[in-house]
Each structure stands twice: as C-alpha cells, then as structure tokens.
Amino acid sequence: MPIGGGSQLEDRRRRLIEQLQRMSDEQFAAVVRREQAARWRAMDLERHSRAHRRDFLDLLGRALTPGELEALSREVLHSWERVFNELEPSGNVSCVFVRSLPEPGSAMLVVTRGGRIRSTFPTRDFAGWQHRHPAAIEVTDRAKGLVR
C-alpha cells in the first residue's frame, strides 16, 4: 500500500512496526483481547447513535438505538474479519476491527483505544478508508492465530 509520503505518517508506521515486532505473541494477544473487551462511555454512546443515525439507516436499513449500537459494536469486536493497528500522534495505539457488510465495498468499523470504544460506523468505501490510513498496519493474520 502506498505510504502517502507524509514523513510523520511514515515515521509512525515504522515505529509501530518496530513496536509490534518487539511484542511477544502473548503480549500482542493480550492487547487485542483488551481492545476486544473495550466499552463505550455512556455519554459517547448516546451522542454517537444520534450523530450516525443516517449512516446506519443507509447501510443497515434502520437507525440504531444506543443499546443496539452497543450490541453491534460488541458483535463486531467478537466476530471481526480484519483488524488494524495504528500508532496515533499522541503515542497511543488504536485498534480498528472490521467486518464486511453485504453491499460490495462496504464495511462496519469499530475503533478502540485504551480499552474504550471511540467510534463505530459503516463505510461505503472500505478501500478508500484504507487508502487514507497509510499509517495503519493490518495485523489480521497474527491476531487470528492468537485470539481465535
């Protein structure tokens, strides 16, 4: 995948690769499991379901209540198809759990950071999302071998 050329992005990508290489499989699995157990903050959940009402309606056929959004997030965290790590500018590592949706090219993403769910949203263009995340490292194969 093209890096995009941004030196900060390239640097973060390189540092994350080094960080992942230094981690033992046990350490890596522990991080993935911690992020799989991530939770919403109640106030974020309420806001998020309002903010993305139309996105869900568009790709799932109906808007989601906060409770349904929480359940959907949990479902994706436990039945993901792909997972990505990204070293954030703050130095924290975020995880993005991805599950494809029936419409070609679309997917549901759950973004977690430090054991918190930051966002859950559908995208019509997952390839476009990936293209605009040159610092994200796909860790699907390693994670599948360890936490499934």
Binding site: G5, A51, P89, R118, T123, R124, G128, W129
Partner: protein, 111 residues
C-alpha cells in the same frame, strides 16, 4: 442495480449536518472518504440538477465548519493527512480555511 449517486449525495449531506456531533477523528475521516467516493463517481456518472444543488449546499455547509474542524481535529490535518491528497480534494485542507474550496475550483478551471 448500482446505487444512485444522488443517494450518496443525500447521505453525505446528512453526514455534514451531523459533523458538530463528531468527537473522534475517525468519524471525520469517514466523512472525507465519503466525499472523495462521490467525487470519484462524478467523473463517470452525471448528477441530476437537484442532486447537484444538494451537493453544492452540503459542500458549502462543510466549508462553514472549517473552524470547528481546525480546532477540534487539529491532529487530523497536522499528522494524519496523507501527503498524496490532491488539492482538488479540498475538504482535506479545510484547516487552512473555507477558501480552499474556491482555490481548488480556480485551479481546476486553469488546467
């Protein structure tokens, strides 16, 4: 049957309206990716009059959020914008101000 581009424009317009509720960078990136998705489709699919106007209004509304974007999502522009994003995708440069849209148009007319 392929999805009508006007449905994508409609969704984008609603996403722009919801932008003040966004708190996480990833939500904004998803909005920008959606706008890019429409732009790429526009190259090969003509848009009907009403949808053109809706896209115009939504783009204007997005430019009006440039201060909010710069203040709330500074990292997105400083550290997360890939350097290969062309200036024609002006929404990725809204941290510089709402004029980036007009600048992109002027650039397109000159070329």
């Amino acid at each position: 049957m392929p999805r009508d581009l006007s449905a994508d424009v409609d969704l984008y317009a609603e996403m722009v309206q919801s932008l003040p509720l966004y708190r996480d960078r990833e939500e904004v990136i998803n909005l920008f990716v959606m706008r890019e998705f429409i732009e790429k489709k526009l190259d090969r699919t003509p848009l009907a009059g009403a949808a053109i106007q809706q896209l115009e209004r939504a783009d204007t509304a997005l430019t009006l959020h440039s201060t909010l974007l710069r203040q709330r999502f500074r990292d997105l522009f400083r550290s997360c914008r890939p350097s290969d994003v062309p200036r024609s995708y002006w929404w990725w440069y809204l941290d510089e101000g709402p004029q980036v849209r007009e600048q992109a148009r002027a650039l397109a007319q000159r070329s």
